[in-house]
Every structure is written in structure tokens, then in C-alpha cells.
């Protein structure tokens, strides 16, 4: 068989499976992103403005999650939390059946927790770079705290955090490959199966390589555009004045 047949769609080739795998990879990353961003922002807010307890919890969270290998976090969520949920369910109702934590949900939770830990530091840095006078100008006008956050602080935070967050997003795209070990059919796992069946590692890994690389290039292009848009009106890349 020549390489086109291997990659063809239909029963003989792996083209449709690989495309589905890419779909799972992208779905996983895109679902993780908003969860991780919001959780990270929350952790950063607690670390900066919370009481003593909230501050130490936030610190413990980001230190722990950044200190663990991501694969371990994934195992803890997939196996540990699954088991915990089941014993909790059985304690509540012994007749209840076995509850299976879906690999997709486990993947999103684990990746989002890791993303939150890293992004909380990016948010925190951006918040510290934000000039307090911006907030005071809003306060002095009688704007509510939440409105100030929404219309004054958040847009500027996004501008300052964008380069760091973009970096994390590219990382996340590739970290999704980890979920292949918990039997989620993402791009990496499909490729592995294809290699196992066809014994053509170079072909399939090259295709996977090009797929990840292509997606990352596209993202970098989009991020550059977002950065240009966020920076309009600023003469230099310096902090908000």
C-alpha cells in the first residue's frame, strides 16, 4: 500500500480516524481553555485580594499543581476522583451502579486545573502591572466595583496577559496528547493505534507532527493579530500609563 492509501478515508485508510482524533484534541483544548482561564483568574484574585486563608489556599493550589507532573494530575483526577465519587455514591445509596468518569471530562478537569495554576501567575503579574490610578479614576466617578473590573481592569489585564496566556495556550494544545493514556481517542492515540496496526511509524508520526505544528502556527498567527488589536493606541509595549 502506498502512503495515500494509508491516509485515505474509509475502511482501508486512517484519514477519517486521524481527523476525528484531531477533532477530539481541539475539542478538549477549547473546552479546557475557558475553564482554566476563569479558574486561574479566580486563583489570582484570591491570591491578591483574599483574606489570609484564601491567600494561602491560592498559593498552595498554584504551588502544588505546578509542582506535579501533569500526567500524575491526570491520573489522580481520572482514577482518584472517579473512585472517590463512587465510594461517595455507594455511601449515599448502596444499590447505585458504578459511575464511570468520562475520560473527556477527566481530561478537561485535569488540564484546566493545570492551566489555572500556570495562568493564575500570568494574571497576577498583569494585575500588578496595572496602574492603580485606572481603578481610582473609576471609583472617583462613582462606578461600581464590578463595573470597574469589567470595563476598565479586565480589558487592560487581557492586553497585559495576552503574551503569557498565548504561550500557555500553545502548551495546552500539545499537553492534550497526555489524555491518550486514559483511552481518549485524541490525535496522538489514533496515530499510535495506526502505527501499531500498519507498522508505519514515520508516516503517521509525520502526519501528526504536521497537524500539531499547523494548528500551533495558526494559533500564533491569531494571537499576533489579537495582540496588535489589544495594543492599538499604545505607543510602545510598555505598561499602562
Amino acid at each position: 500500500m502506498d502512503w495515500l492509501t494509508y491516509l485515505s478515508f474509509g475502511d482501508a485508510g486512517w484519514g477519517d480516524e486521524l481527523l476525528q482524533g484531531l477533532g477530539v484534541t481541539l475539542a478538549l483544548a477549547l473546552t479546557t481553555l475557558p475553564v482554566g482561564l476563569l479558574l486561574g483568574l479566580l486563583v489570582a484574585a484570591l491570591a491578591m485580594f483574599g483574606g489570609r486563608l484564601a491567600r494561602s489556599l491560592a498559593l498552595a493550589y498554584s504551588t502544588t499543581l505546578r509542582g506535579l507532573p501533569e500526567l500524575l494530575t491526570l491520573f489522580i483526577i481520572y482514577h482518584g476522583v472517579g473512585m472517590g465519587l463512587n465510594s461517595l455514591l455507594r455511601w449515599y445509596d448502596p444499590q447505585v451502579g458504578y459511575f464511570e468518569l468520562s475520560p473527556f471530562v477527566a481530561g478537561v478537569v485535569a488540564l484546566a486545573m493545570v492551566f489555572a495554576a500556570y495562568s493564575s501567575e500570568v494574571w497576577r503579574g498583569a494585575w500588578q502591572a496595572l496602574d492603580g490610578g485606572q481603578r481610582e479614576a473609576g471609583q472617583s466617578m462613582g462606578l461600581r466595583r464590578l463595573t470597574i473590573f469589567r470595563v476598565i481592569e479586565l480589558p487592560q489585564l487581557l492586553r497585559l496577559a495576552l503574551p503569557g496566556l498565548g504561550n500557555l495556550w500553545i502548551n495546552l494544545l500539545k499537553d492534550t496528547a497526555l489524555v491518550s493514556v486514559i483511552a481518549l481517542s485524541d490525535l496522538m492515540r489514533v496515530a499510535n493505534i495506526a502505527v501499531g496496526t500498519t507498522k508505519k511509524p514515520f508516516l503517521f508520526f509525520l502526519v501528526v507532527c504536521l497537524a500539531y505544528w499547523g494548528v500551533c502556527l495558526l494559533c500564533e498567527f491569531l494571537l499576533a493579530r489579537m495582540e496588535r488589536r489589544a495594543n492599538r493606541g499604545y505607543r510602545s509595549g510598555g505598561a499602562a500609563a
Binding site: 485606572q134 481610582e136 479614576a137 472617583s140 466617578m141 462606578l143 487592560q156 493606541g233 499602562a240 500609563a241
Partner: protein, 255 residues
């Protein structure tokens, strides 16, 4: 007396155990232009920031247009929703112009001026835009209304900040050293705008180092020294015959 634009009574404020304001009482009647002078560290800016509660006074009374704020010590920590709303209402009546402009850097000049009226006063966008353009024309910034603050000079920024404050149609305007961050050649354009506001009868309280300007536009001068009002009165009297030795020294060094 009851309907003074702004009334401060027995204001105390300390930072980390150091008393910065030691019982300040001050009344701004309608159309008053009050300049607060004093050497640095005398508490001028803190006093101004206490007036719109950017700093929370330790004790004292604050009355804006007849509405009194309950500044009890326990209102510092846990603030009730109602009290927070009252603070916001009072702040919306007292527009502030900052030394460092504090224009919102991600918004155009026009958006800066429109934000308060739209989101605080909840006024119709079309009316707000028309009024904002009128105010920008007044301070000579209309042709820059689509620019971002970072592209403006300091004097231009401060004129926009004044238009932004005016857009709230405030009871009292608070100026916190409005020309101290400007290059000398840009001070004039900002003072000209403030002078026009004074002449049209705006109630203003201004912290300033521009002695000559304070003397010309103020209806009342307040000299702050080490957290207390050491002397106050009409500008001529304070400049020509200061009773306080400290004030005499300050005037001699600057004027």
C-alpha cells in the same frame, strides 16, 4: 450652612499609626474656589482624597450637598450595601482630576469622557456623545477625540481629564495637583481651562503648588501644616499679611 456644597468636619486620618490629618474642618459654599496649599507631607492630597473617600477617614463628618455620610469606625471594615451605594452616589457628585491624569488607556478620548455619564448617570448614549463632544470642544480637544491617551501630551491628557470630570456635571470638582506632572510650557493651557471654570461659577477645591494661580482664581485659601489648617481666608489677606510663620516661610520660598 446646611446646604453647603461640601462640608468636612473634624476629619482625622492616620496611616500606619502616623497621623496625617488631625481634625480638619472645611466648608465649600456653592461657587467657592478653594485652594489648599502647604508644603509636601502636610496632608493636602490626603484631605482631598478623603473628601471622595478614595481614602477612608478614621473619624469625622462629611456632608455633600446636605447629604451626610455616616463615617463610623465600623463602617470601614464591613460596609453595608446601602452604605456602598451612598459612597458611589456621593462620588458621582464630586468629580476628581488627578495629578497623573489617570485617563483609561484602552479607550479613546471620546470614550473616556462618555463612560461616566453612560454607566453612572445612565443617560442616553446619543445625548452623552453630543455633550461629550461639546465639552471636548470647550477644552480644545475635539479634533483628538478618536485618539488614545498614550498619543497625547500631558497638557492634552489633563484637559481631557477635566472634560471627563465635567461630563458628570458635578456639584464640586476636586483637583489634586492638576499641573504638577506637566512640563512647564504645558501648565498654562491647563490653568486656562481651570480659570474659565472658576469664572463661570463652578465649585472647586484644588490642591496646588501654583501660588500665583491660586492667588488669582481662589475665593478662599487654606494653608495646611502638619495635618492641621494653620491659616485660612481670602487670598489677599494670606499673601499680603500671613499670620503664620510657617506660611510666611513657604511664601517666601516659592513666590
Amino acid at each position: 450652612m446646611t446646604n453647603a456644597a461640601l462640608q468636612v468636619d473634624g476629619l482625622y486620618k492616620s496611616f500606619a499609626g502616623i497621623e496625617v490629618l488631625k481634625g480638619i474642618s472645611l466648608t465649600a459654599e456653592r461657587q467657592d474656589v478653594i485652594s489648599i496649599i502647604g508644603s509636601s507631607g502636610s496632608g493636602k492630597s490626603t484631605l482631598l482624597r478623603c473628601m471622595n473617600l478614595l481614602e477612608f477617614p478614621d473619624s469625622g463628618r462629611l456632608k455633600v450637598n446636605g447629604e451626610e455620610l455616616e463615617l463610623t469606625p465600623n463602617s470601614r471594615g464591613v460596609r453595608s450595601r446601602r452604605f456602598q451605594r451612598q459612597i458611589e452616589r456621593v462620588r458621582s457628585r464630586l468629580a476628581m482630576v488627578f495629578q497623573s491624569f489617570n485617563l483609561w488607556s484602552h479607550m479613546t478620548v471620546l470614550e473616556n469622557v462618555m463612560l461616566g455619564p453612560c454607566l453612572v448617570l445612565k443617560r442616553n448614549r446619543i445625548d452623552v456623545e453630543a455633550q461629550a463632544k461639546k465639552l471636548l470642544a470647550r477644552v480644545g480637544m475635539l479634533e483628538k477625540c478618536q485618539m488614545y491617551p498614550d498619543c497625547l501630551s500631558g497638557g492634552q491628557k489633563q484637559r481631557v481629564a477635566i472634560a471627563r470630570a465635567l461630563a458628570m456635571d458635578p456639584e464640586v470638582m476636586l483637583f489634586d495637583e492638576p499641573t504638577s506632572a506637566l512640563d512647564p510650557e504645558l501648565v498654562g493651557e491647563v490653568l486656562k481651562v481651570i480659570r474659565e471654570l472658576a469664572e463661570e461659577g463652578r465649585t472647586m477645591i484644588m490642591v496646588t503648588h501654583e501660588m500665583r494661580f491660586a492667588r488669582e482664581v481662589s475665593s478662599k485659601l487654606v494653608y495646611l501644616h502638619q495635618g492641621r489648617i494653620e491659616e485660612q481666608g481670602c487670598p489677599e489677606q494670606l499673601f499680603n499679611a500671613p499670620k503664620s510663620d510657617n506660611l510666611r516661610r513657604l511664601l517666601a520660598s516659592q513666590y
